[in-house]
Amino acid sequence: MRHPARFGIAALTLALTAVGCSSSGSGSASDDKAGGGRETTVTSCGRKLSFDGPPERTVALDQSSTEVLLELGLEDRMAGTSNLKTKIAPEYRTAYAKVDVLSPKILTGEQLRAATPDFTIGGFTDYFTKDRVGTREELADLGLPSFVSAVDCPKQNTAGSGTGKKTKSPFELLFQDYTDLGRIFGAEKRAAKLVKDQRATLATAAKTADKVKDEPTVVWLYSVYGDTPYVAGRSAIPSEMSRTVGAKNAFDDIDEDWPTVTWEQIAERDPDFLVIGDLSERGKPGDSAADKLKAIRANPVMSKLAAVEKKRFIEIPGTEMDPSVRTVNALPRLTSGMKDLGYVR
């Protein structure tokens, strides 16, 4: 569903996505082939990265970074991967098998250096501290450029300029990552196609919004630790997804990604329906959607909620609730779930 279009209109899409993109670009970015002597400059979360040519030995610091590289067909340019939270998505497994796993956990600074990479990419700036892989300054001094997903620093990736600055939606930030990586690796066409496909998925989901009546409220339950629920706050991507499909995230008043709340608070908001994160791939107790439903039903307050009594639940893989190349997959699940529950006319 993500690959319905073909290369034809790629150039147009690239031009569209480049609008409002804060990354200052220079040099010739035209060819999909890994030509040498081609200079590219990309700004990633406040650091300017320069490349003489496409990187040959990339080290990915987490699963979302690994998957976006695999989606762009860059497995041959990877020196290694690390920090896997769940299983790699089935569509990437063949390519993933070609990549060295440097560590199943977060890389140490030593492991990163020992892999002799020429490029490193991570989803969070938090990886780049002295007790992890080293600061971005340190790595830059060693001639190792570090790319951080724009999703982690929305303030440095605003649309427009000057007083007209506006924060971009997390999806726009993801698209910016694809475009930037496409330029770095000389894989612009593939990146543009990815952006186009995902934009199409987004547009399809947005069409549902017109048919949704009365803006139903939703609570996104990501996980339950020791009977404390983690729900999506305003800055998490599910908040944006809710808006897109014409629903309203019930915890939009909390400006955090995944705040911990109490069952009472959820009951108080009395959401029209619940989205339950299924993390069964992670395999810890309470991770599966079934376990969470059990916890909800066992809770005296929650069990009396209208949404619970009438079984208004939608299950979505937890991995798609965090920003990654897989996130758009949650949208059709969400809209079809809402159709089943009768929220879509």
Partner: protein, 404 residues
């Protein structure tokens, strides 16, 4: 554990003597046999009734000073120093990435200006910018914490005293989480700077609370506990108030005490502070000997009790603050190493302090090496291992001395 104010030797009651004997038993194991090892220690109050106390062994000869103590002490230093040197060299090789001795020598040669072909830049950085300062940092922090522990045990006459008794580490933790979790000053200070500011603030508060009145040990200990609890609560508050799981995960490593952030700059600062601090404490050996028998004994030895206590508290706090700011609060070393070394060389600080430094250094160098490889390819914060490794070692010392 009180300083028994106004109790002179002549008016010692039997009960006080029993209590003092119990303190001396922990802090001065070799003093129990009667005459101290080399004669410079003030005499233990020889009150009647000491030998009647059950559990306090009398002069059965087991703890009597060895005739060869003076000789063996020198040998012990030499041996421990040699072990430290070998440990440093050997442990440079150990880590989440294997490094050969040839590469280590080549890297060291290159950076010392010899005419050697350098390794690839990233591998060179692995050895020279991460591994070498890290191993040196482990040695320095181990030495610093062990010596601070020994000194504070004497100053507060508390066998349970460790460098974190005064709340310095709690203050440092609050500073670190403020930077990492709340993002306050993350650009200008960094974790290390934030932790040091936090440590300084907590120490300033301690001094403020102690400014009036005497510095008797109970007061110092209780005030330290209060400061420590306050900053621990603040740390928890910051961690809980911010729900960002990634940020919390990032700081947990630091809170447990990890050598990974060691670099040349922090190692250099720690080296200077540790060396100066060690020297100051070592020069105060006689005063520390006096303090461990109580303020009155110290005073009768001609020690200016208040001034010396202040000085020693400031020095140990500064040493602790620098160590904690660099690598987090590594537990256990500062508590147990001094006790272990006291069993070996007796309670005299002139001997106890340097040997504690050496043993603490060796201990932490190896513990960190273990922390690097035990769960490879993952690294575990060294603070997790200090107690795991230290407890059996300490029990071994106890056993060999026939105490267990």
């Amino acid at each position: 554990m009180s300083a028994s104010p106004d109790t002179t030797r002549a008016t010692h009651t039997a009960a006080a003597a029993v209590r003092d004997a119990a303190v001396a038993d922990l802090l001065h194991p070799s003093a129990r046999g009667g005459a101290p090892a080399t004669g410079t220690v003030p005499e233990v109050p020889e009150a009647p009734g000491v030998s009647e106390v059950p559990g306090v062994p009398g002069a059965d000869g087991r703890d009597a000073p060895h005739p060869s103590r003076r000789l063996s002490t020198g040998g012990l230093y030499l041996l421990t120093g040699l072990v430290l040197l070998l440990s440093l060299v050997a442990s440079v090789r150990i880590g989440t990435t294997d490094v050969s001795y040839a590469d280590v020598v080549r890297t060291a040669g290159f950076h010392l200006g010899l005419d050697v072909e350098p390794l690839p830049r990233l591998v060179d950085s692995l050895i020279w910018e991460l591994r070498v300062p890290r191993v040196l940092m482990a040695a320095l922090v181990g030495a610093s914490l062990a010596v601070c522990g020994a000194a504070l045990q004497a100053i507060t006459r508390n066998a349970l005293a460790d460098p974190y008794l005064l709340g310095i580490s709690s203050g440092a933790s609050t500073g670190a989480v403020t930077v990492v979790v709340l993002g306050v000053g993350s650009a200008s200070l960094g974790v290390t700077g934030g932790a040091f500011v936090g440590a300084t603030v907590s120490f300033a508060l301690l001094m403020l609370l102690l400014r009036k009145g005497g510095l008797d040990s109970v007061r110092v200990v209780l005030t330290g506990v209060v400061v420590s609890q306050l900053f621990t609560a603040l740390t928890s508050l910051v961690l809980m108030a911010s729900g960002d799981a990634e940020a919390i995960r990032a700081i947990t490593q630091w809170l447990l005490g990890s050598m990974a952030p060691a670099r040349w700059d922090t190692t250099a600062v720690t080296a200077v502070v540790t060396t100066v601090g060690l020297l100051v404490l070592w020069l105060s050996s006689a005063a520390l000997d006096g303090f461990s028998f109580g303020a009155d004994t110290a005073s009768s030895l001609g020690v200016d009790v208040r001034t010396t206590r202040w000085t020693l508290l400031v020095v140990t706090s500064l040493m602790t603050a620098v160590a904690v700011a660099s690598v987090g609060a590594i537990g256990f070393v500062g508590l147990i190493v001094p006790h272990g070394v006291r069993f070996l060389v007796g309670p005299l600080h002139r001997l106890l302090l340097p040997l504690s430094a050496l043993v603490g250094a060796v201990f932490l160098v190896w513990t960190d090496a273990l922390a690097r490889v035990a769960f490879a390819p993952q690294e575990v914060p060294v603070g997790v291992f200090t107690a795991l490794l230290g407890v059996p070692l300490f029990l071994l010392v106890l056993r060999r001395r026939g105490e267990l």
